[in-house]
């Protein structure tokens, strides 16, 4: 071993040893330690040591010097990777590479339950075709210009591609060339949710949006399974044996009669949400979603639309008051309850509003209609910030429907004896379903704690019982809907398990009616689906602090509320839909993988009561399989010329330099001050993750802190220095086209 090599070994050993004294592990500290070691060994004593020792002694001494540094590196390895931005870097790079490997497709997910739009980026290609393989039809791409193609895909018409292990190989044909790309393919399982009950309580029914089915139950269990239109979201009995079904993916309402294979239908011109039948049974109120939210009143006798009442935001829940002339609707967008009334001989109009501060998670009326019960995660009507991080306070509100005022509040979160630490809770979490029983008590399904509870009649005296029916042993995780039939049989639905529990009077363990494949079958045939199911379970399951993912991300969407996330600034809840292939995550891109977010539940929210292996991986599998939010204007006629002009304006304003097609993000993080120099200096150095613009019209409010209410605000009001896109170079007509284009994504 030469002299210089001996010195180098000593330098390396000494550098590692010095590095172990660094207050925090970093490569820069290691480099500093290397330079320090180099200089130390350049000093005369250092030189003498290096020159005097034999090669073997040099190696031994180097190893001894390096030992603390090696131990330090091993102990702080994860922290070092995290500090240097290398932790989870492979996930980020893979997503970025997938979007840059042309022709690229986004989103990288095909779901079998809904029509969807894919975008393909193939610069220079005049024509493009997508071949899904198997029996699925080939899909032609519509050229939007600038190398961007739009591909409309409806699995009901076009068929699902063959998939292996949840992945489908898709061929992209560009001219004479064929490129193979891999997409995630998800065939959802049945998800029975809330029940509707026949007026005589002999039958109850629920729908599965994912599998387009209507399930009929009586006291003996499942009596009928009916195929429906695309994406049923709610049902309402309009007669003893006839059910109205509303849909998310079609504009027609359907009326299914028991035993009749051909349903009647009514065109409403918009996708629908929840429904309520009037006390007299003459009217059906339907919440209309889409670009123009409204309330439709349908006269059942003539099956015609009586009135259409425009709303500022789509109604999530509807219940009639004591008679046909008053109705209360819950809106998520502004977290309110609104009463709609009709004067004698007049038409329905908005009457008064009750601010809740957080949206109603569910809403139900008592038999008289005088009282409504709503579940929510907090009540702070004056929009005062709650300073607790992710503040959630599950409660039931008893509401006087005539006055539209809160009569009483019943906080539901509590603890059982199995909890050991002070402050832990494990009962009464995430109330998701409410139903008035025959004895006028209330049945409550708690999705966060897998239980079914019966409470008194309210009036300020309502109390939750110390014990409730634990549904976990029956596998009915995260129950949503509950109903009681005339013979006292209780029905409880578990969308997660794809099952309904039937609890006969006097029984303590429900009989499980499996509507989707059970876990055992999935374990042997479709492990990806099982992982998603277990992940969905974890999504609804509450931590020991009482908070679940579901608490804020209601049914994987945003609750449209704002939360303090630790720095006393209120930030709007983000949707968790359409996240596949968009690493890193959160506003600042601080989490490279979805699975890493699990540490928040463990560290900050006391962890989960139920032990489960690989919980973070299953949660990731579930969230990645969620399709992106539905575009509100998807049933409106698209002005294709304006969209193409809008794309040209998008390019002219240099938007693609960050919002790069096909996902309309380059997955980068930039300092906020670079885009918005007008912001205060302390915000300017914060990083902001470039969000995907797919479904952007469905994800208001905009910008990282939700300060822009509309897309127009983003490009005009909050772009004062013209740093967030060169919008000043666009004239008014081009800006309108740009908005049309963004809304079409």
């Amino acid at each position: 071993m030469g002299l210089s090599l001996r010195r180098q070994w000593l330098v390396l050993g000494l550098a590692a040893g010095l590095w172990s004294c660094a207050p925090e592990p970093s490569l820069l500290a290691l480099l500093g330690a290397y330079f320090a070691a180099l200089l130390l060994l350049e000093l005369p004593p250092g030189r003498r040591v290096a020159d005097a020792l034999s090669p073997a002694a040099v190696l031994l001494l180097s190893a001894a010097l390096a030992a603390p540094g090696i131990a330090y590196g091993l102990r702080a390895g994860d922290e070092l990777l995290s500090r240097e931005g290398l932790f989870g870097a492979s996930a980020r790079l893979a997503d970025r590479a997938r979007l840059q490997w042309l022709p690229a497709i986004a989103p990288g997910l095909l779901t079998g339950d809904r029509p969807q739009t894919l975008f393909v980026y193939a610069p220079g290609a005049p024509k493009l075709e997508l071949s899904l393989g198997g029996r699925a039809r080939n899909l032609a791409g519509e050229a939007l210009g600038e190398g961007v193609f739009r591909v409309e895909y409806d699995p009901r018409k076009d068929g699902m591609p063959p998939s292996a292990g949840g992945e489908a190989k898709v061929q992209v044909r560009v001219g004479q060339h064929t490129h193979e790309r891999t997409l995630r393919a998800v065939t959802p399982l049945a998800h029975p949710r809330w029940f509707c009950v026949a007026p005589d309580r002999r039958l109850a029914a629920c729908v599965s949006e994912e599998t387009d089915e209507l399930f009929w139950f009586d006291g003996s269990g499942l009596v009928r399974r009916t195929r429906t239109g695309d994406g049923p979201v709610d049902c309402a009995f309009i007669a003893a044996d006839e059910i109205a079904v509303s849909f998310n993916h079609q504009t027609r309402l359907e009326l299914h009669r028991a035993g009749d294979p051909a349903p009647r239908s009514l065109e409403l011109g918009a996708p629908q949400g929840r429904m309520a039948r009037s006390p007299s049974g003459h009217l059906l109120s339907v919440s209309l979603h889409g670009a123009h939210p409204a309330l439709a009143f349908v006269q059942l006798a003539s099956l015609s639309q009586l009135q259409r009442l425009p709303l500022s935001g789509a109604a999530d829940w509807l219940e009639f008051g004591p008679d046909d002339d008053s109705l209360v609707l819950a809106t998520r967008r502004d977290a309110t309850l609104t009463r709609v009334t009709r004067p004698p001989g007049g038409s329905y109009a908005l009457d008064r509003t009750l601010e809740l501060g957080r949206p109603a998670v569910t809403l139900a009326r008592d038999a008289s209609g005088q009282t409504l019960w709503a579940a929510t995660t907090d009540l702070h009507p004056r929009q005062t910030p709650q300073l607790g991080n992710h503040f959630v306070d599950d409660q039931l509100l008893e509401i006087d429907s005539a006055q539209l005022s809160v009569r009483s509040q019943l906080r539901t979160a509590r603890r059982s004896e199995r909890q050991t630490r002070a402050g832990d809770v494990d009962l009464g979490l995430s109330p998701s379903g409410l139903h008035q029983a025959r004895d006028l008590g209330w049945l409550v399904a708690f999705a966060g704690s897998d239980e079914l509870a019966r409470i008194g009649t309210g009036g300020g005296g309502a109390r939750l019982p110390p014990q409730s029916l634990d549904l976990e042993p029956s596998g009915l995780y995260a129950p949503h809907g509950v109903a009681e039939l005339a013979d006292g049989t209780l029905l409880v639905s578990s969308p997660v398990a794809g099952a309904v529990g039937v609890l006969a009077p006097g029984e303590t363990r429900p009989q499980v009616v499996q509507l989707a494949r059970d876990d055992a079958w999935l374990l042997s045939h479709d492990r990806a689906a099982l992982a998603r199911r277990v992940g969905e379970r974890g999504f609804y399951e509450a931590t020991r602090s009482g908070i679940a993912c579901q608490s804020c991300h209601i049914h994987a969407d945003s609750d449209d509320a704002a939360y303090n996330l630790g720095d006393r600034r209120l930030l709007p809840t983000l949707t968790v839909r359409g996240l596949l292939g968009t690493a890193p995550y959160l506003r600042d891109g601080s989490y490279p993988r979805l699975r890493d977010l699990h540490e928040v539940a463990d560290d900050r929210y006391r962890g989960y009561r139920r032990r489960q292996a690989a919980r973070e991986l299953t949660l990731e599998a579930f969230v990645e399989a969620l399709p992106r939010p539905e575009r509100p204007g998807r049933f409106e006629a698209l002005d294709r010329a304006a969209v193409q002009r809008g794309l040209r304006a998008f390019v002219q304003a240099r938007c693609p330099s960050c919002h790069t097609p096909p996902a309309f993000t380059n997955l980068s993080q930039v300092p906020m001050g670079q885009l918005f120099p007008e912001l205060p200096a302390e915000l300017g150095s914060e990083l902001v993750d470039t969000p995907s613009l797919l479904s952007v019209s469905a994800t208001a409010p905009y910008l990282s802190d939700g300060r822009a209410a509309t897309l127009r605000d983003v490009i005009e009001r909050h772009n004062g220095r013209n740093q967030h896109g060169d919008v000043k170079s666009l004239h008014q007509a081009a800006r309108r086209d740009l908005l049309t284009f963004l809304e079409s994504l």
């Binding site: 240097e84 290398l86 240099r654 980068s668």
Partner: protein, 221 residues
């Protein structure tokens, strides 16, 4: 130009023997090309009328220019070894001279790139300590500056550095810093940068092989 290069090398106390004419010409070409490309980049950026994108483009282009010079410097030894068996065999002094020129160009390019990029974003100095990809860039810059400083004999002699040759193996650490900086940065193109990383691994391996061969040869002598 030739005399200028020689005079400045002598003034700075270059620790190399006198190279041949071809090497002098190559060094001259390297510096002229570096200056020409840098000017070209600056002129080309004027085509972009939107200031934020022009700045971003300039920052990226200057970074890539520095990276190209660095990779060029790392390629010199393997290339010289490959040419060693042909009639174009370069002298050790010549290849050292060319490597030094490319290394200095890389260090100056990296310095310009860092200064320009940091000047564009308000508060970016605070971000340097927080963001992994900026720290990686800083790591590479420090390595390159250390190498650049110890490329001058006068500095080496005045500091009485006997281990400066070993220090120059930091060029590979700088290379990994550059790869990490480019890969994790906001405008990274993973396919290109992974290729860069692959080439760096190849060059490192090649260099180790060359060192082993040289040691064997010395032992035989």
């Amino acid at each position: 130009m030739k005399s200028l290069v020689h005079r400045s090398a002598r003034a700075l106390g270059s620790n190399m023997s006198r190279p041949g004419r071809a090497a002098e010409r190559t060094v001259r070409i390297i510096w002229i090309s570096f200056a020409a490309i840098a000017t070209g980049i600056a002129l080309a950026s004027l085509r972009e009328t939107y200031a934020p994108l022009r700045h971003a483009w300039l920052a990226r282009a200057s970074g890539w220019l520095a990276a190209t010079c660095l990779w060029g410097a790392m390629c010199v030894s393997p290339l010289a070894a490959a040419l060693g068996r042909t009639r174009w065999k370069p002298s050790t002094a010549a290849s050292t001279r060319v490597r030094r020129a490319l290394g200095l160009a890389a260090a100056s390019g990296a310095f310009i790139h860092a200064c320009y990029s940091l000047a564009q974003v308000e508060g970016s100095l605070a971000l340097v300590t927080e963001l992994g990809w900026l720290r990686a860039g800083l790591f590479a810059l420090i390595c390159l500056l250390a190498l650049a400083i110890t490329s001058f004999g006068v500095v080496v002699r005045s500091l009485r550095l006997s281990g400066w040759k070993a220090l120059h193996f930091l060029v590979f650490a700088a290379g990994f810093g550059v790869c990490s900086h480019a890969l994790l940065g906001p405008f990274g193109q993973p396919l290109l940068e992974l290729a860069l990383l692959g080439s760096l691994l190849g060059l490192t391996g090649l260099r180790l092989l060359l060192m082993a061969a040289a040691t064997r040869a010395r032992k035989r002598v």
